[in-house]
């Protein structure tokens, strides 16, 4: 997606201002035990330290063993995330590109990914906006992997978003265990390290994919330069869960679609939901093949990792909301999408 209008600035600027003000407060003033200080330490450790670890990813009763290697050298970040079970899939992020090796599909996907956080994930600063919808608290200290750890809980204040619990190593602030939880505190997904090394240097060989790419298909996902049609660009969510704001709007061609979809991104500062509005096959005048599922109207809910997708049809256009949020959030937003006339289109 290119040429996103700078909707981000409408609300990110005040957030950044508050964040900048918060960051100017010395950590000692906020207290070394302040959970926000610990999250900042975690973010810094994840982004700036070298680490090589093996962790378990548990979701829906499935356990996967994965290895993460993260190196920062001369300001350049190289990362490799590898499944050690079965699939042999690997992701490598280097030189502002994300390369997905999918040996079981005989395919390598390459996509530009500029200025993204580490694979292990970080949390944004807890400014006033985020604090309106999440409650951050320090839980009693504990031990994990035989090491003293701080436990931080980021609890959603309503059912429209997920929360997190993080067990941070007392010495390094690295997250040794994290849980994704719903608003009732029930665990949806968790990872925990079985091994974590933080070496001074990491050789190139540890960041090189182990997948043999001979004979594999390379697919480069280039940035879209398309614009959505005026009709698609006129769609917006008319109602949003508290705290969600439009942060990005643009267009993107999805798969082999004949026309780009309008892509809207709504965020509460922590959780994000993408909304795709696509031209229906009847509107485009292209008759779908009888057996073509791709052009058939879709209606309903699907699980995607720890999040959900919900699709519906609005005035003959396919509207799909996707995000790492509870099911009711994507349903809520998708159902509220409507078409506006030009002067009424909300930009936030």
């Amino acid at each position: 997606m290119t040429q996103p209008r700078h909707v981000l600035a409408y609300w990110l600027f005040p957030c950044a201002l508050v964040g900048a003000l918060l960051s100017t407060i010395p950590q000692t003033a906020r207290g070394a035990d302040d959970p926000r200080v610990w999250l900042e330490r975690m973010n810094k450790a994840l982004a700036t330290r070298n680490y090589d670890g093996t962790f378990f990813h548990i979701s829906g009763g499935r356990v996967e063993t994965m290895r993460i290697v993260h190196r920062v050298r001369s300001g350049r970040v190289t990362e490799r995330l590898q499944s050690l079970d079965g699939s042999g899939r690997e992701f490598v992020r280097a030189n502002d590109e994300l390369t997905c090796y999918l040996p079981d599909q005989h395919t390598v996907l390459v996509e530009p990914r500029q200025d993204r956080g580490p694979f292990l994930g970080s949390l944004p600063q807890f400014d006033a906006t985020v604090s309106d919808f999440y409650r951050i608290e320090a839980l009693p200290d504990t031990h994990i992997l035989g090491r003293p750890a701080r436990v931080i809980a980021v609890n959603p204040k309503d059912q429209f978003r997920f929360g997190y619990r993080l067990w941070l190593d007392e010495k390094t602030a690295m997250p040794l265990k994290t849980q994704l939880c719903d608003s009732h505190g029930q665990v949806i997904e968790q990872i925990f390290f079985a091994r974590l090394d933080m070496p001074e240097s990491i050789p190139d060989s540890d960041l090189a994919p182990t997948v043999h790419t001979d004979g594999m298909r390379w697919v480069r996902q280039g940035p879209s330069v398309d614009n959505a049609s005026a009709a698609l660009a006129a769609y917006r969510a008319s109602q949003l869960p508290p705290g969600f704001r439009l942060t990005v709007q643009g267009a993107q061609t999805l798969g082999d679609a004949s026309a780009p979809a309008s892509h809207l991104v709504y965020s509460d500062g922590l959780a994000t939901v993408s909304v795709f509005i696509e031209q229906s096959s009847s509107d485009s005048g292209v008759a779908a093949a009888p057996d073509s599922q791709a052009q058939a109207p879709m209606q309903g809910l699907a699980r995607v990792g720890s999040g959900y997708a919900f699709s519906t049809v609005v005035q003959g256009h396919q509207v799909t909301a996707v995000g790492e949020v509870p099911a009711q959030t994507v349903e809520f937003i998708a159902h509220s999408v409507k078409i506006y006339s030009g002067a009424e289109i909300p930009h936030h």
Partner: protein, 226 residues
């Protein structure tokens, strides 16, 4: 799973397994798919019995109920450091916690039922957000505009139950395209979940994103320009 392995897994999930034994367990898990399945179930059961979620739920409910009754929040339960030996008591403790949650929940519901006016004092949360019209009676595209057409947050609303029983209704290939496009904008930990999910071997073949135009197959050094 042998009793010894079960004990090791339990200790590991509690963060109490010595590092030397952890290495051995990790190696065993890496090569033993059956053990991984058991491990996953054990982790879920452990979370439920330990009441990790229930503890917070209890604290939240208890605080709200106490606030409603006498204006004082409930005290958070003191952290009990669980030793390895105490693990065998957890199933019983879990049931106790669950029973406690049920009792508090009933109290909370009764409190709400007899004090409908309390809702006026509840701060703006998800429970108070209006449902999109489609979830009530009108079509979503018939919603009245408010304040010049911006999205709105309204006064009273109960979050509908998610229709989790709905069968998969989105074509897998299209779903993959949506997830991949969205992952560029998803925030930190959420992005990790999406990426981790893409790494996991599918029980059924993963539908690949359908490409707009066929791409030549370059070598890694001479990839095709967008």
């Amino acid at each position: 799973m042998s009793e010894q392995i079960r004990e090791q897994v339990s200790a590991f999930l509690d963060g109490e397994l010595p590092d030397t034994e952890t290495e051995l367990l990790l190696k065993r898990l890496t090569r033993d798919g059956e053990l991984r399945e058991s491990f996953g179930r054990y982790a879920l059961i452990g979370e439920a019995l330990r009441g990790a979620g229930s503890q917070i739920l209890t604290r939240g409910f208890a605080s709200r109920v106490n606030l409603a009754i006498d204006g004082e929040p409930a005290h958070a339960p003191a952290h009990a450091h669980l030793t390895r030996e105490s693990r065998w008591w957890r199933p019983i403790a879990g049931v106790t916690v669950a029973a406690g949650v049920a009792a508090v929940a009933i109290v909370a519901l009764q409190q709400r039922a007899i004090s409908p006016h309390l809702s006026a004092a509840i701060p703006l949360t998800a429970q108070n957000v209006p449902a999109p019209a489609a979830m009530k009676t009108a079509a979503p595209n018939q919603l009245p505009l408010q304040g010049g057409g911006g999205p709105r947050e309204a006064l009273s609303y109960t979050v509908p139950a998610a229709s989790t029983d709905t069968p998969l209704a989105i074509a897998p290939a299209r779903l993959t395209n949506y997830v991949f496009a969205h992952s560029k904008y998803s925030s930190g930990l959420g992005q990790r979940g999406l990426l981790a999910d893409m790494l996991i071997e599918d029980e059924e073949p993963l539908p690949l994103p359908v490409q707009r135009a066929p791409q030549p197959a370059p070598t890694p050094d001479t990839r095709v320009a967008p």
